[in-house]
């Protein structure tokens, strides 16, 4: 009896999540269809128009797809010099030592900071510095947003990379030391090749996190709807345009925003899927 009940409960909860997921995709597609029908799917994706004036309305997702891609990739690049050393420190050099545990804990703590705090920090602390250094004329923009995003994804990239670095078989490493390899050589020749695809997948998952980040980016990117020309200029990401415009949107604009949401959903899903596949491969090595 108890067993049966438990089984029923399990099945029920196993069904609930796919149903919710399916429901989200269904309602996104339904509400987005208006924009796709009006502009055509590819035209919507590749148009950089964003005209809200009544009567001349025209919406395209390209500036926001570009903004999302630019901030995410830039964040990834900036994040590597912060996260890879942390991963090596905790996973290889000081593995199992107290100092490694402390560093790992502190890094993981970064993941627990709410995004509004990162946004405020970026806005009040980082923005004046960027203006002072003349990195961006207004302090806010793609570069500022990407920099803060980079800090936000460090814990995701670092802790997973560290796990994969720990998984490198010690007989391989000991063999290399036996042949007279230095520590740097072991890392370059043994650790990176063996844990490489695992580390790569850690960064893919970190990208997944950066793609959808909304609050921080909205506070820092400057929120302009033009195509970003340089990294110094302001822009908008797919998440931030939705956060900005959804409250007062209706009609075609509402449908366009939901269409952008659907595109973001698809991009995130694809990137996460790639990450999962790579992790599975890495674990089988």
């Amino acid at each position: 009896m108890q067993d049966k009940l438990f089984k029923a409960l399990l099945i029920l909860s196993a069904i609930v999540i796919p149903v919710i997921g399916g429901g989200i995709i269904y309602s996104l597609t339904m509400d987005a269809s208006g924009a796709f029908e009006h502009f055509g799917f590819w035209n919507f994706v590749f148009s950089d128009d964003w005209v809200t004036t009544a009567g001349r309305e025209s919406y395209g997702a390209l500036p926001f797809i570009t903004g999302t891609m630019l901030t995410t990739l830039l964040a990834l690049l900036i994040c590597i010099p912060f996260s890879l050393p942390v991963a090596l420190f905790t996973g290889e050099y000081f593995r199992g030592k107290k100092i490694a545990t402390v560093l790992a804990t502190v890094t993981d703590l970064l993941a627990g900071i709410p995004s509004i705090i990162y946004g405020l920090w970026g806005f009040y602390a980082l923005r004046p510095i960027f203006m002072y250094l003349n990195l961006s004329p207004q302090g806010s923009g793609i570069l500022t947003a990407a920099f803060v995003l980079a800090i936000m994804i460090v814990p995701y990239a670092a802790s997973l990379s560290s796990e994969f670095i720990k998984m490198v078989p010690s007989d391989l490493k000991e063999g290399a030391y036996g042949l007279g390899a230095t520590r740097a050589e072991v890392i370059r020749r043994i650790v990176f090749p063996t844990a490489g695809s695992g580390i790569f997948s850690a960064y893919i998952l970190a990208i997944g996190r950066a793609l959808g980040e909304t609050m921080t980016v909205t506070m820092l990117i400057g929120n302009t709807n033009q195509m970003p020309e340089t990294l110094r200029t302001t822009g908008n990401t797919m998440a931030s345009i939705i956060a900005n415009q959804f409250g007062e949107a209706d009609g075609l604009k509402l449908s366009s925003l939901i269409a952008i949401g659907l595109l973001l959903f698809l991009i995130t899903a694809i990137i996460n899927m790639i990450g999962k596949i790579l992790i599975r491969r890495a674990q089988h090595v």
Binding site: W50, T52, A54, F123, G222, N223, A243, N244
Partner: protein, 355 residues
């Protein structure tokens, strides 16, 4: 076995308790207490929070209000999931056509003020056409001859003007651009008015706090924001020349003065660029919108009565007098009289609710 069922029993019990929790008792208004919900404009949120609380205390009805933006509120009303919507912009004729007939009830007045960050200047005068040209990118320096002409005594620096605007759709942007459309032909023909406008110059920030943050951090910037926010935060704002040629400081009195002109029966009117004496030119009403026929989405007669009680309460003297404590301006008598008449036309199953 027993242990396993304990949580279920607890849940079942909780459900039963909630089910009979709504003890039906007659309240101060001689009917059963109900729960009402509304959604919409964020601009009057502090005022609504305060007055809905005091209404609940007085009547026993519970009122909840979600500040999701005017557009969202109207959407919710269309979907029939709220009792009333809050909106900073009255519904246009086209929007009215898409819905069942509605009644607009103005609740209070506010304004859009021009906040600025000019370390050298204590008090700044502006006019509508100058504001429009700043936001069109045609006036770019603080010591432009046209700004100097309005401020003969001020030491205006030779610095670039950095305009700030709202990145999110907002009733504040609507009121601001509605004003500029009236005072600048070029603005009308290029950008027009709306809750979001395709500004060509300046910095964008989300919400009043975002714009205020940019202005506080960026010397030589200027931005528009809701008066309730600027007054509460004591942010310096510019005097604006009105249609009579008077230089007016935004204040509770000068905002109320803007409503002195004519008003249509349904109260749907824009009062920007008012030609009344002493009127601050970028003033506005904010409205609550309800359906004229209150029997929709299975609402009860008590629900309909409660909605009208709430509307009446918002128009009452005692509530109107509290507007200035939360940095809004009270409605003029004419708007209250018109609204009380309009409330009498509200029906349930075709029968007038208020006799």
């Amino acid at each position: 076995m027993k242990k396993f069922f304990l949580p279920f029993a607890a849940v079942a019990m909780a459900l039963t308790i909630t089910a009979c929790g709504g003890q039906k008792t007659a309240n101060a208004n001689g009917r059963e207490s109900v729960e009402m919900s509304g959604a919409g404009a964020t601009f009057p949120l502090p005022f609504y929070t305060m007055s809905f609380d005091s209404y609940s205390e007085k009547s026993g009805d519970v009122v909840s209000y979600g500040g999701i933006g005017s557009g969202g509120g109207v959407r919710n009303l269309k979907d029939g999931i709220v009792d009333f919507a809050g909106s900073d912009a009255f519904l246009s004729d086209e929007e009215m056509k898409e819905m069942q007939p509605v009644v607009h009830i103005p609740t209070c007045m506010g304004a859009v003020v021009m906040a600025y960050n000019l370390p050298e200047v204590k008090s700044l005068n502006l006019s509508g056409d100058v504001i429009a040209d700043i936001y069109l990118g045609k006036i770019t320096k603080w010591n432009d001859a046209r700004i100097v002409a309005l401020n003969p005594d001020a030491q205006l620096p030779e610095k670039d003007i950095i305009p700030a605007f709202r990145s999110d759709g907002s009733g504040t942007t609507f009121v601001f651009t509605d004003y500029l459309t009236k005072v600048s032909e070029e603005w009308k023909n290029t950008l027009g008015s709306g809750k979001t406008v395709d500004f060509k110059v300046g910095l964008a920030a989300k919400g009043n706090p975002g714009v205020a943050g940019i202005i506080a951090q960026t010397p030589y910037s200027i931005g528009y924001m809701g008066s309730e926010y600027a007054f509460a935060q004591k942010i310096p704002s510019a005097n604006v020349k009105n249609a009579n040629g008077e230089m007016v400081t935004p204040s509770t009195e000068s905002i109320s003065a803007a409503a002195a002109g004519d008003m249509p029966q349904d109260t749907r009117c824009s009062i920007t660029n008012s030609n009344a004496a002493g009127a601050y030119p970028i003033s506005c009403f904010t409205w609550l919108i309800i359906y004229k026929e209150q029997n929709y989405a299975d609402r009860s007669l008590d629900q309909a009565k409660a909605t009208l009680d709430l509307m009446n309460y918002m128009l009452s003297d005692s509530i109107q007098q509290t507007t200035s404590t939360v940095h809004y301006a009270p409605l003029p008598k004419k708007a209250i009289d018109l609204s009380l008449e309009n409330l009498k036309t509200v029906t349930y199953n075709g029968e007038n609710i208020l006799k």
